[in-house]
Symmetry: C2
Amino acid sequence: MLKIFVRPLHHPAARDISVEGILYALSDPVRMQIFAEIESADCPQICSNFLVVAKKELPKSTLSQHFKILRESGLIRSERKGVEMHSTTRCTELRDRFGPMIRAIIAAYQKTSGQAKKKRS
Amino acid sequence: MLKIFVRPLHHPAARDISVEGILYALSDPVRMQIFAEIESADCPQICSNFLVVAKKELPKSTLSQHFKILRESGLIRSERKGVEMHSTTRCTELRDRFGPMIRAIIAAYQKTSGQAKKKRS
DNA sequence: TTCGTTAGTTCATGACTTGTGAACTAATGG
DNA sequence: CCATTAGTTCACAAGTCATGAACTAACGAA
């Protein structure tokens, strides 16, 4: 049968990473948590996607989408390692392009998470 | 007839402002532009909503929604001044709660805006 | 007072997005 | 070659967003 299912794993070039795209990616609590975990585990940290997340009671397809959005926003770089997927933050490129923004976001998130009573909308 | 149409103009308390809500609000290019304009026009700057925006070729209802999202995320404070609406950034509260995050986002946005070739999704 | 204008909100709805189960791929280990 | 693990893709229901139409609310002029 030989269906060719190349799955390209697209990562944007550094110059194509936008502030808006990053903010959008991190505006979801699940993605923020995932990214903060990868980021704070000593940059650049390599980890299996679904071990990092410890399933979080979310379906695989949902997590797969979240990782895709993080990847395509330029925040993480993913590589297939055998049957697993490993992700690292693109922290050097991100710092070069956006200065202290990412660090400031993670710091603010870690300082305030779990204490807001309301959410948007 | 005397319909009472109180329109409350809700602003969240500082402790209820979340990082995710702010990132979501600023992940839209129109809102980012509006906020950057208010913010960079010397904090806290008071300005008529629709003059700041100079209509941007968007319908009023759309802009009204964008201002509402900025307001309810906690980024701006709005006040009715006669027939106009005036907004200021809540920069002191935001700095107290989130440190340099907002400034870092605006700086990164101003440094890179207009140069990304692709956008999210 | 009433009319007109300006500034903005609310509502309804159609278009787009997002989350998820089901079915799939792809690598590895018996 | 079958089973298992890890993850992706697809389809579609449910939710969110953008916008025109209709409205409010303040003010100025006659």
